[in-house]
């Protein structure tokens, strides 16, 4: 019997799905219905074999990417699976998760229950399962070898970059003026820092991004960027 963790904000659906997994597959399933509950759920579990995480949490500030990153950090040996509607709303988050984390499979929420259970059982027993065809069209054929968790280190060369990212994360409608005001950096310094980061942002699929696109990327990938913003000595 494997220990699973299901993270999904649709509480009724999550409970029902957990029951189906327990009754049909015989595994034990813990359920977390909010991103903030993931830490507590992990503490209650001795050993985690598989975490199944939804990506969309519209009532919260984060996404399933935050939960996946937290689980991966706490239990590196646990397999990670995504269960999602797999539509435009979550396409970019799905791609980020797929490229940055060792995702064992992606399950479509609209797939028949038997198909979903078969995918889960395959991950538990073999370590992976084919990505659901309905979601496959949102994922690249191969993962970029350059886009890794460690590649985020190159997005913060020094404390000035940390200030820029921190300002972008707290900005609603970023402009050079607003970022300069928030960060305390000069206008041309903000411009220079952005220019310095452009080559490294290409790795993350951002080609000549605007400040707004950089802000969206920073918010989406906050769990991977944040560690580098915290430890740098900001001048």
């Amino acid at each position: 019997m494997a220990q699973l963790l299901l993270v999904d904000d649709a509480s009724a659906l999550a409970e029902l799905f957990a029951l189906a997994i327990e009754s049909k597959l015989g595994h034990s399933v813990a359920v977390a219905v909010a991103l903030a509950d993931v830490g507590d759920a992990l503490k209650k579990i001795d050993h985690l074999d598989l975490a199944i995480v939804d990506l969309s949490f519209p009532q919260e500030q984060g996404t399933g990417l935050d939960a996946l990153a937290e689980i991966h950090l706490a239990c590196p040996s646990a397999k990670l699976a995504i269960i999602t509607q797999g539509d435009l709303w979550v396409a970019q988050v799905l791609r980020d998760a797929w490229e940055l984390l060792p995702i064992a499979t992606v399950i479509s929420k609209s797939a028949p229950l038997a198909y979903q259970l078969a995918a889960i059982e395959s991950v538990v027993t073999t370590g992976s399962a084919p990505v659901d065809p309905a979601v496959q069209t949102l994922l690249p054929a191969t993962r970029s070898p350059y886009r890794t968790l460690s590649s985020f280190a190159s997005l913060v060369h020094h404390g000035g970059h940390a200030k820029l990212w921190t300002a972008l994360l707290s900005s609603n409608d970023p402009s050079y003026k607003e970022i300069a005001d928030i960060s305390g950096l000069k206008l041309n310094t903000v411009k220079n820092y952005r220019a310095q980061l452009l080559p490294d942002l290409v790795t993350h699929g951002l080609d000549e991004p605007t400040l707004r696109q950089m802000r969206d990327f920073a918010i989406r990938c906050r769990p991977f960027l944040a560690p580098y913003l915290d430890v740098r000595d900001c001048k």
């Binding site: 539509d87 479509s108 609209s110 659901d132 065809p133 496959q136 069209t137 054929a141 206008l187 707004r212």
Partner: protein
């Protein structure tokens, strides 16, 4: 910016000197007021050049120094340079990728040369003829501040200019020179230049204020239009929720309550409803004009999956990340719909989806294991036949396979739907 320290003031000046293109990371804003400001700046520089030549050619006492003779040429070249560049920015929208420092240096040198040559061409009280430069400065400052996200306060410019060290120094020098040159030449040459500079600042302030008002009005109009469009969309959604979604759910509910339906049929009805919702989602995306091929085929992948069909092959994001125009998207969606429904109705148990793109066509091929079909067999009036009529006789290719049929539909990417397909990340 609102800061009052010397360094903030210098930073502000440098930001303005660098110009709007230094701060324009986004694709160019083609709002009406941006175009108006760009054209106004171009026209102002052109007018300044014309006024310069008019004065130069009609002046009674033209200086004969070689430097002064070259001044009108230099003045017109610089004016035309600024003018043509602005027009190109309005028409094409992109500037050469100069680094920030280079922009500041080049524009500073050109500005200095412009001021020098302007007062050399139109000396004394004739320097008041340089008023169009004030218009150009105001328009340029407005464009730069919009790109920076900086709220302009033009009402403060003239008072700030009066108490600025540059102005006070100029006034001090003027008074000093006047005290030691009793002939009055200072009052006829240098004093008018100072007045002309004041004229530039006042005109620039008025122009920037006017453009700023236009910009604010345009923003407000845009917000109202967005709000109105959102309201219409909400009403449409509410209507759809009421008429289609709730009615369908009610139907299922009554059937379940009256025990007139089996559980499997309930699941089928709910799957149908799910499909309708996803198609509705797709139609909403069509309205955004940024639909990806991946999003078009997704509802049909789910449809096939929920019909118990095994999906052997689907394209990856690399193959279906193209963004297509709404027209191409709708035609492509229709083709995917007909081909998938055809395979499902024929009793397929396995299906493969393939998408290819050429210069002229976006193609979907669906391979099934539901027995054979050849083009002459297409029943007249049925969906597959209609699709063939829509696409063209040669654009629906039916190929028998060992276990079934491969049907490929080629949707034209013609000038009619000129946006065609563009590769997106």
């Amino acid at each position: 910016m609102g800061g009052t320290t010397a360094s903030q003031s210098a930073e502000r000046s440098l930001a303005l000197i660098a110009g709007r293109e230094a701060w324009n990371d986004e694709s160019p804003t083609r709002s009406a007021v941006t175009k108006v400001a760009g054209v106004l700046e171009a026209a102002a520089f052109f007018t300044a050049a014309v006024l310069g030549w008019t004065y130069h050619l009609t002046a009674r006492n033209r200086p004969n120094s070689s430097v002064i003779v070259l001044a009108p040429i230099a003045f017109s070249i610089i004016c035309l340079l600024f003018s043509v560049r602005q027009l190109l920015l309005v028409l094409i929208g992109r500037d050469l990728p100069f680094p920030y420092g280079a922009r500041v240096v080049v524009r500073s040198v050109l500005a200095l040369a412009l001021i020098t040559s302007a007062f050399a061409v139109m000396p004394g009280w004739a320097s008041l003829n340089t008023w169009p430069i004030g218009i150009a400065l105001g328009a340029d400052a407005a464009l730069t501040s919009w790109a920076l996200g900086w709220h302009l306060r033009p009402a403060r410019w003239w008072p700030a200019f009066i108490v600025s060290p540059y102005h006070l120094g100029a006034v001090g020098g003027l008074l000093g020179a006047a005290a030691f040159q009793p002939t009055g030449s200072v009052w006829s040459t240098a004093f008018p230049v100072l007045i002309a500079l004041h004229l530039w600042v006042v005109i620039a302030s008025l122009i920037a204020y006017g453009l700023n008002q236009l910009n604010d009005n345009e923003k407000a109009d845009r917000e109202r239009a967005y709000s109105s469009a959102a309201s219409i969309e909400h009403q449409k959604n509410a209507h759809w929720l009421h008429d289609d979604l709730c009615a369908q759910l009610r139907l299922v509910s009554i059937q379940v309550q009256s025990r007139s339906i089996e559980l499997e049929d309930v699941a089928q009805l709910l799957d149908d409803l799910d499909h309708q919702i996803r198609l509705r989602q797709l139609y909403a995306i069509f309205a955004t004009e940024t639909v990806r091929v991946a999003e078009i085929i997704q509802p049909w992948l789910r449809r096939a999956q929920n019909n118990g069909v095994l999906i052997d092959r689907v394209p990856s994001l690399d193959e279906v990340s193209m963004i297509v125009s709404t027209e191409v998207g709708r035609e492509f969606s229709h083709a995917v719909s007909v081909l998938t429904s055809n395979a499902l109705n024929a009793g397929a148990t396995r299906i493969s989806f393939d998408v290819t793109q050429t210069e002229h066509h976006l193609s979907i091929a669906i391979t099934d294991d539901a027995g054979g079909l050849t083009t002459p067999e297409l029943p007249v009036g049925r969906a597959l036949w209609s699709l063939q009529q829509d696409l063209g006789q040669d654009q629906l290719v039916v190929t028998p396979t060992a276990t079934g049929t491969k049907v490929q539909a080629n949707v034209a990417l013609t000038e009619r739907n000129h946006r065609g397909a563009v590769v997106a990340r």
